[in-house]
Each structure stands twice: as C-alpha cells, then as structure tokens.
C-alpha cells in the first residue's frame, strides 16, 4: 500500500491539531471498533458565518490523520456554506488520492465537519440548513461492514 507524498506530509506535519477551549461547536465521529475516531472543534463568527478557527484530534491510521488535517485546512477561514460543500472526494483529491481501502477515512472527515456544525446549530438553537448529514459517525464503516 502506497500513500501519496501529500498524505505523508499531512501525517508527519498535521495542520490544526489541538483543541479550542471556547469552541462554537464540537463534533466527534467514528468509533474504536472501526479503528478511527475524529474529533473536531470550530470557532465560528456568528455574524459572518465564517469558521475562524478549527482544530482536530484523531485516533486512527496515517490516512485518517492526514484527511483530518487536510479537511481542517480546507475549511479554515471559509463560511459554513462553503464548508458544507467539502466532500469526501474533495478531501481525498486534495491529498492526491487515497488507497481504496482507506477511502472510508475521508468519509470520516466530511462527517466530522457536519457533526461539528450540527453541534453549533444545536448550541445556538437554530434549525440546521438542509444538506447537513445526520450521522453519529462511521457511516462508511457501517456500509463496509454490511458488505
């Protein structure tokens, strides 16, 4: 199995690792059974809807850590609407691809973004926008388990 240089770069020097004390939203997806857990923190400007800061912590393989890192980089400084448009495929492509067996790791990145935004809306008491995934994590794993 071969990882791209970009995956190795993001695994070795992950961007945005950490926690945000007064986060606007916190989301965690995945479970130990499937081997990946991704936790994401966001600081969101209520007026502009801009994700001003984002941090993550991930339990998982090199691909899981790299996709977490890339996903945070892709949404930092972007609006919520823009963040919601980030897809699994876009994260994987930004990393110059992932080995087929690792594609579920990129699912986790998208799910983490959505879970964190869900938490933000819940905390605000605002109705979440359409297109927000309702997934408590590891949707990808469940799918593969069923195969």
């Amino acid at each position: 199995m071969l990882y791209s240089e970009k995956v190795m770069d993001h695994f070795t020097n992950p961007r945005n690792v950490g926690e945000i004390e007064d986060a606007s939203g916190v989301g965690q997806v995945g479970n130990p059974k499937c081997g990946d857990i991704m936790k994401m923190y966001m600081k969101i400007n209520d007026d502009t809807g801009v994700i001003e800061d984002v941090k993550f912590k991930t339990f998982g393989c090199g691909a899981a850590i790299a996709t977490s890192s890339m996903a945070t980089e892709m949404i930092k400084g972007k609006t919520i609407d823009e963040a919601l448009k980030v897809t699994n495929l876009a994260v994987a492509e930004a990393l110059d691809g992932l080995p087929p067996i690792k594609m579920h790791c990129s699912n986790l990145a998208q799910e983490a973004i959505h879970a964190t935004l869900s938490d933000y809306y819940a905390k605000k008491g605002i109705e979440p926008p359409e297109g927000l995934l309702q997934c408590d994590g590891c949707c990808g794993c469940d799918k593969e388990d069923a195969e």
Partner: protein, 393 residues
Amino acid sequence: MDKRIYVDHSATTPVLPQVLEKMLPYFTENFGNASSIYSEGRDAKRAIEAAREKVAKAIGADASEIFFTGCGTEADNWAVRGTAYANRAKGNHIITSSVEHHAVLHTCQSLEKEGFEVTYLPVDEFGRVSPDDVKAAITDKTILITIMFANNEIGTIMPIEKIAKVAEDAGVPFHTDAVQAIGLVPIDVSKVNISMLSMSAHKFGGPKGIGALYVKKGTKLNNFMNGGAQERNKRAGTENTPAIVGMGEAIEIATADIEGKAKKLSALRDAYIEKVLSKIPYSHLNGHPTERLASNANISFEFIEGEGMLLSLDMKGIAASSGSACTSGSLDPSHVLLAIGLKHEEAHGSLRVTFGEENTMEDVDYIVDNLAVIVERLRSMSPLYEEFVKNAK
C-alpha cells in the same frame, strides 16, 4: 536515514548468504528437471533428496515423511483439506483454535461450507489452548485436530506435547502449523505424536515460495495438487530445485543451535519489553510472559492506532508490524488480539517487534527511544487520550 533496523522476522527473513550461494547453481548450470532421466535431471533429483534429508533431520522425521510445497500456506491447506476429504466416511468434525493463521482458519471456514463441522476453541488471556478443552471437544466424528505450534502475532507457544497426547489417546490425526516455531523451538516428531507439521523456509533464512509438510507414515491424506508424479505421487508440480536446496541449507543452519539462538534473541526481547513497559505509560504486553517465541514482543499502546506507529517508525529506519485493522487491509483488528480479550482500541494499538540474529542491544535502545517519542506524539493527537486525561483530572 540510511541505517535500517529490521525487526519483523516473523513476517519474513533475509536469505542467508551461504544459503543463496548453495541455491544459485540450480538456477543456471544445474537447471535440470528432477523428473528427467539424464544427468541434469539426476543432479537436480540428488540435490532435492539431500535437502529432504536435512529438513527431516531438523525435526526428527524420516526423509520419506517430508513433502515440499509451494509455501507454508499450501502445507496448511493440504493438511487440513486433505485430511478432511480422506476421512469423510469416518466423520466430519475438525477441532482448531480461534488464533490460528488464516491459512488454517480460512481453510476450516471453507470446509464448513462443504458440510464439515469445525470447533474453534477459545484461548486463555495469553493465547494458549487448553489440552482439556481439546479433549472435551472430541466426538466420535472428529477426524482432525489442528493447533498451531506458536502464534505468529503474539508469539505464544502452545502446549503441543499435551495436545498431541490427547489426540494420540483419542486416535485422531493431529496437525500443527509450525511455521513460526522452526529454528526457535526444538521440535522432535519422533518423540511427540504429530501426524502433520507445516513449515515455511523464508521464516528461517531460506527463500520465499517454498514450504514443506511433514506427514507421519500411515497418515491418511488426500492430494491437494493434481498432476505429475512428483513427491512420490503426493504433490504434483515440477520441483523448485533451487528453493528446495535453499530450504535444506537454511533449516540445517536454523536448527544447529536453537538454544544459543533463543538465548540471544530472548535477551533482546526481554530488554525491549522491560524498557518499553517502564518508559512508556499505558502500554502492556500481549501474549504469554514466558511461554513465547524468543523473537517476539507484542505490546499494545493505549489511545493510539498501530499504523501511525509503523509509518513513524519507518521514517526512523525501523521496520515492524501491527495487529491494527489499518495495516491488515480490513476494518477489523487482529483476530488473535481480540481472542485474548483485548478491546478493539487496544488491538488497534498493538506493535509487534520480532528480533533476528543481526539485531543488537543498540537496536533495542534506538527503537525504544524513538518509540517513546512517537507514542507521545500520536497520543497528543488522540481524542481518546484527551478524554482519558480529562477524566483523570
């Protein structure tokens, strides 16, 4: 990083230079087909029979009881399937363990689809099968007991003599996958009642693509490969003469001084285990504390996942392996680690280091020093560790 430290000898070993040297002429000048009647063929035949003697001698067998195969996996497949088919009229029950190599496990599972019944015995926390459990599982339909000699992941050595005795008393054929044990544990089939035993050359300094099955005289076994009359009509296919020669050389070297080798390797293993457990918190040893292969140390590191460790170690020039799902090409972690009662996250965080004779105490220190930094870095990124620290406060 130029220096490489290879500590994955249970995965494979380098071919010893003296083994390679003996093999090389059989690729070129002595290329003959061992079935041919002319002198090139006779040369090959002689070399194969000399290698067979060496393999037999290494385990206390007679040369007529050794059959070369394409790999250890083929030896396992042949032993299990061949015994099942040969004894179908007698019964359909097979006893094995839940920690076998997939070569045995998946063969058993495929036989279940053909109407065979398989008992997968549980193991204790150290990965050992209880001979009493084997005894209790035997029915009048039992036609095969297959329990590995030593586990490939956690290095636990099974109570083979006792299990062999149970099988002997019940008159049931007993196969053991000894792929990991050859060269690390003394094996003498003239003293222990083993009906069949699988070996693989690349685990002990020989080439890949060659294995052997010991079949005790009088054991009923159907053929697995059909074709020509090679291996006395038991295993068809033109003999891989260079590889067979290599296996013979390698097993002779590997079994010449098992005690001395085990002493050296276990000193490295024990130093590594002691240093890791004392330097890195929330780490624990998997497998038996003493009844384990001299080469094997399998340690779980809580809160982190194995593949990240392997990639980070590789960047420091260290080659090791893990029971994590991410390295196995599936989503499930090692069946062995789950069978000894580990939680999924503990199994994902396992690291297997298997030493070889070229490793040194300096290697041990280098690995432990780097590992401590790597584990700390991965933990600093882990939400499980974050949660643990918060709850501990």
